[in-house]
């Protein structure tokens, strides 16, 4: 994970990250929301359908399986406005993980999950889906380091 002293430095680093990995960068960010007029499962499956031409039924089955693995199968048919903060975050995380050899970058996770006391719940989900992505970076402000606990040490 990388900590920054201010917004400008973080945004600059994020842009650099995206530019450096033009085919594999997979952002999880409040600035890149889910598509509102599509169900959560379709938001996640879209990446495979578009880039790998995966059939709708096949991609749906795969996404429902992943949602079940992280205990969120109930969100599959919900749309973005109907999702809770955590549900939305994990849907965005799964969407990012759908990118081939995904280089996931989580941009200020506590901005999307303000009620979360620490990062352990997200780490558990990341471990559950660790076969899906190549790397995972977390970008946040340095004053948030206490929330990351062992990750910062």
């Amino acid at each position: 994970m990388t900590l920054f002293t201010g917004e400008e430095a973080l945004d600059k680093a994020l842009r650099r990250f995206m530019r450096a990995r033009p085919r594999h960068a997979a952002p999880v960010s409040a600035a890149m929301p889910l598509i509102s007029n599509q169900e959560a499962w379709l938001n996640i499956a879209l990446i495979k359908q578009y880039h790998e031409n995966m059939r709708v039924e096949e991609s749906r089955k795969m996404v429902l399986g992943l949602l079940r693995d992280i205990g969120l199968e109930k969100i599959a048919e919900k749309r973005n406005p109907a999702l809770g903060e955590e549900e939305r975050f994990y849907a965005m995380l799964l969407r990012a993980a759908m990118v081939e050899k995904a280089a996931i970058v989580i941009d200020r996770p506590f901005k999307m999950l303000p009620h979360l006391k620490n990062f352990s719940a997200v780490m558990t989900v990341l471990k559950t889906i660790d076969g899906l992505y190549a790397s995972c970076d977390i970008y946040d402000y340095d004053w948030m380091k206490d929330k990351y606990g062992a990750l910062c040490r």
Binding site: P22, R23, L34, N37, L46, I47
Partner: protein
């Protein structure tokens, strides 16, 4: 700034806007003809678009076309009888009702229902930064959002216009019997004799052009929204005005082609 300079700036701005629109149209048209555009995701959007635009609307469309079609047919047949122009029945039916009224009525209905919806949808996506999110995942906006919607629009206008013509013809059977005392056999015969292949081709091209522009223009203007929610009504009204202007231009052009 003096008046000539203001006029010059205005004209120059208009020409630049038109050039951008033409360049965008060419880009979309080329992408539509590229087989690689149609992956699993875009095919899904295409099917949904056809469903929303032409299947969901079907009951209301059939009802309205039966009412409006019967009304027009009844009035036109009565006028023909009063003026002693019964011999022109077939020409009027095919030349006016099928090739002019059907596409025009269909495009008006679809523009009101789907054109406005697409315009607002694109603007809302732009405001919510959903377009930016798609781009971050390397999903091409033209391939994913535009091409399937435009193709869906073309297919929908052509099919619904054809359906409107069928309803119109069917109500013609009834009115020709009531007003002229013509049997169904004779009526069909008159229609077939009046059918002109070039008119059908022009009508088809007109429907396809209608379908293309009543989806392309709302998307184009919808994507011009800023990140401010207040920009949504501005781009929607701008887009819809341009759509109606495009409908009139296509209508006039098709008329000029037919008159030649």
């Amino acid at each position: 700034m003096d008046i000539p300079e203001q006029v010059g700036n205005y004209i120059s701005g208009r020409i630049q806007a038109l050039a951008r629109m033409i360049s965008f149209t060419v880009k979309v048209f080329r992408r539509i003809l590229t087989p690689a555009t149609y992956n699993s995701a875009t095919r899904t959007v295409l099917i949904n678009q056809i469903y929303f635009t032409s299947v969901q609307i079907l009951p209301a469309f059939l009802l309205v076309s039966a009412i409006v079609g019967s009304l027009f047919i009844g009035v036109v047949f009565q006028v023909l009888k009063d003026l002693g122009l019964v011999s022109l029945l077939g020409n009027v039916l095919m030349g006016l009702m099928v090739t002019e009224l059907s596409p025009f009525f269909t495009v008006l209905l679809i523009t009101l229902r789907s054109g406005a919806a697409i315009n607002a949808e694109m603007a809302a996506m732009q405001v919510n930064r959903e377009i930016k999110a798609l781009e971050a995942f390397r999903i091409d906006i033209i391939d994913y959002l535009l091409a399937p919607r435009v193709v869906g629009g073309v297919i929908s206008v052509v099919l619904l216009s054809f359906l409107f013509s069928i309803v119109l013809m069917a109500s013609g059977i009834l009115f020709s019997r009531i007003i002229f005392g013509i049997s169904a056999d004779v009526y069909v015969n008159i229609l077939l004799n009046s059918t002109n292949f070039s008119d059908i081709v022009v009508a088809l091209l007109k429907c396809a052009s209608f379908g293309f522009f009543i989806t392309l223009i709302p998307i184009y203007y919808g994507l011009q929204a800023t990140h401010e929610p207040t920009s949504i009504p501005i781009v929607v009204s701008r887009g819809m005005v341009k759509v109606f202007a495009a409908i009139l231009v296509i209508e006039v052009l098709s008329l000029l082609i037919r008159l030649q």
